[in-house]
């Protein structure tokens, strides 16, 4: 439905005040802008790089972009669900790093079977999700503070547990997702497919199930959720736990792509995951946004990095541009919504 329709109100009925239809149309425009804006930005960025480099618009290059994007993309799914509840997780990247160290060290140093080691690594991330969600729900602490704490804890544990050493010579089962197959000369990795599948699954759960509606309600008006009989605390705790599981899968994707367990990983991914969510049009105030937007946001980051490399621009400029884009995205979102109100 493109336009809200209002039938002539019956006597004494809910007649819309004059100008209400106009207001509504503007609100819808803002909503559409929030959804289409990221896509337009992605297309513009791609178009720009296509004019700058012959190699940009090739299948192999896009394959590379997607391999780079799959880690922050998967992280950003978990981050999206948390931000939709008006929370934030500053620990996502380093929790992922901790998970990757757990799985690689278990497999290499302790000779744990690879599949079990992978599960233990994912479980470690789920555990961090449980701790984050536990403090947020049981004590009502702000997610920002709790996850700032777990950021440091996960960072320290990663370095303590790994002795600051990179873990290599991984069992092949652990790097399987880094392999792939070729479609018309373009390499498609299993990891990319896993990431895509997770995006589709998250999209379905958020937009087509009651669970998803409740996640949005937690961020939009948690008091309304409580009054309507939704167990707010349990749902919120589960959101952090599920996000932890996504970080665990991201850890596996990271390991399979780099073929090592790197204690120094995760720090850039940490903020890039939040950046992807924000670029994708999800509101930091909760209740608004989509996981598809997050995928586009992650692709914008990936394309920027890739395109600037192809142009021979120093990588620090990618950080600069990403920073500018984030502020731009939040400003456009805020202005559009204020106009709508």
């Amino acid at each position: 439905m493109t336009q809200p329709q209002t039938e002539p109100a019956p006597p004494g009925g809910q007649a819309p005040p004059p100008g209400a239809a106009q207001e509504r149309r503007r609100a819808l425009d803002a909503e559409r802008l929030a959804q289409l804006g990221p896509l337009i930005a992605l297309v513009l960025v791609c178009a720009f790089f296509a004019t700058q480099s012959d190699r940009f618009l090739t299948g192999s290059n896009f394959s590379l972009v997607f391999q780079q994007v799959m880690v922050i993309g998967t992280l950003a799914i978990g981050q999206t669900i948390i931000i939709l509840t008006a929370g934030i997780d500053l620990s996502c990247g380093v929790v992922m790093a901790f998970g990757s160290i757990v799985m690689t060290k278990m497999a290499v140093d302790n000779n744990v079977p690879p599949v079990l080691a992978i599960l233990l690594g994912i479980l470690a991330c789920v555990g961090f999700g449980f701790v984050n969600g536990g403090f947020v729900t049981a004590l009502g602490l702000p997610p920002f503070i709790v996850t700032l704490g777990t950021y440091n804890i996960a960072f320290a544990l990663t370095h303590i547990y790994s002795n600051d050493e990179t873990i290599s010579t991984l069992p092949t089962a652990m790097t399987k997702l880094g392999e792939g197959f070729s479609v018309g000369g373009t390499q498609v990795t299993y990891g990319s497919l896993v990431c895509l599948a997770l995006f589709i699954g998250a999209w379905f759960a958020l937009s087509q199930t009651a669970w998803g509606r409740h996640v949005y309600t937690l961020g939009d008006n948690s008091e309304a959720a409580r009054l309507m009989g939704i167990s707010v605390r349990r749902k919120l705790l589960m959101v952090y736990v599920i996000a932890g599981a996504f970080y665990g899968v991201a850890a596996l994707l990271l390991v399979s792509r780099t073929n090592v367990g790197d204690p120094n990983a995760g720090v850039t991914e940490n903020l890039e995951a939040i950046t992807a969510v924000v670029l994708g049009g999800t509101s930091l105030f909760g209740g608004r946004g989509t996981v598809i937007g997050t995928l586009i946001g992650a692709l914008i980051i990936g394309v920027l990095r890739n395109g600037l490399v192809l142009m021979g621009v120093a990588s620090i400029y990618q950080v600069l541009i990403t920073g500018i884009l984030v502020i731009l995205a939040v400003s456009v979102d805020q202005l559009a919504r204020r106009r709508a109100r």
Partner: protein, 284 residues
């Protein structure tokens, strides 16, 4: 009295609730009959909201009994009261502004698709819910056609309309309205009052908690006056003036609940007395 012939829907006898030394409910009685709008009024601190919370399961009374449709009930939570068919409309709306009307109407009671899509994938029946939501809105003659509109795109009165439609859709026994017009302007308040009448006319009795005397007198069939933790009077707004009722509420008039006819005679003097300080203040 006509109320004697009508069927009681919700009753309470001798409700007591103490918080330490404070007695919030002090032996309160309550009666709601079918097909009526019963206004509950009382000064701040009179304990009316504690009593309403006891009736809606948010507070568990220490003593006394509550009967729904003649059967004793012991609600341990608002969810239990809701399961029993009692819905509440809150002052602050309790709607999710960014979500659409249909989602809000079915919040916490979503319906899934039939077949494996619903049972295995837990997929929502969005179209079905939209159709039903539209029907509920039509039942109350709320003129919004698109159930996909976000609630935040609606006016304040329309938003409260969504909250009223939601409670009317799910209530099987009665609806409690907690200050439903407090956050609204004059015109929107009137729209909501009209909605409350329609809810009653569609067959659901309504408990209306309000501080707004003109609103109470405009739509209430009977008025329950609460004072010092208990019911001190039930009056017919057609037989008593706003002035008298305020007098009872503030204690300026002593109302004999067993012989309500006497209040008219008694009201003259104390009511006039209670007016005096006000007029003096105005004279200064």
């Amino acid at each position: 009295m006509s109320t004697q012939e009508r069927k009681p829907i919700l009753q309470a006898r001798g409700l007591v609730k103490r918080y330490g030394h404070v007695t919030a409910i002090d032996g309160a009685d309550f009666d709601l009959y079918e097909g009526e709008i019963l206004a509950v009024i009382g000064d701040n601190g009179a304990g009316k909201s504690s009593m309403i919370k006891a009736l809606s399961g948010a507070v568990i009374p220490d003593e006394g009994e509550i009967m729904l449709d003649g059967e004793k009930v012991h609600f341990k939570s608002p969810i239990e009261a809701r399961r029993a068919g009692i819905e509440t409309v809150y002052q602050d709306l309790a709607v999710a502004p960014a979500l659409d009307i249909a989602t809000n109407l079915f919040l916490g009671r979503e319906q899934r698709r039939k077949g494996p899509l619903g049972s295995v994938l837990r997929m929502l029946d969005k179209n079905g819910m939209k159709e039903q939501a539209a029907q509920h809105m039509r039942d109350l003659q709320i003129g919004i056609r698109s159930m996909s509109q976000a609630v935040e795109t609606l006016s304040g009165g329309q938003r409260q309309g969504v909250a009223v439609a939601r409670s009317a859709a799910w209530a099987r026994k009665l609806v409690i309205m907690d200050e439903p017009t407090a956050a609204l302007g004059v015109k929107e308040s009137n729209q909501v009052l009209e909605l409350i009448r329609r809810v009653r006319d569609n067959g659901l009795p309504v408990i209306l908690i309000s501080h707004n005397m003109p609103h109470v007198f405009e739509i209430a069939d009977r008025i329950h006056v609460h004072r010092l933790g208990k019911r001190v009077a039930v009056v017919d707004p057609k037989e008593h003036s706003m002035h008298e009722v305020v007098g009872i509420m503030t204690g300026a008039v002593v109302h004999d609940i067993e012989h309500p006819d006497q209040v008219a005679g008694q009201a003259e003097k104390p009511a006039a007395g209670s007016e005096a300080p006000g007029s003096r203040a105005a004279g200064r």
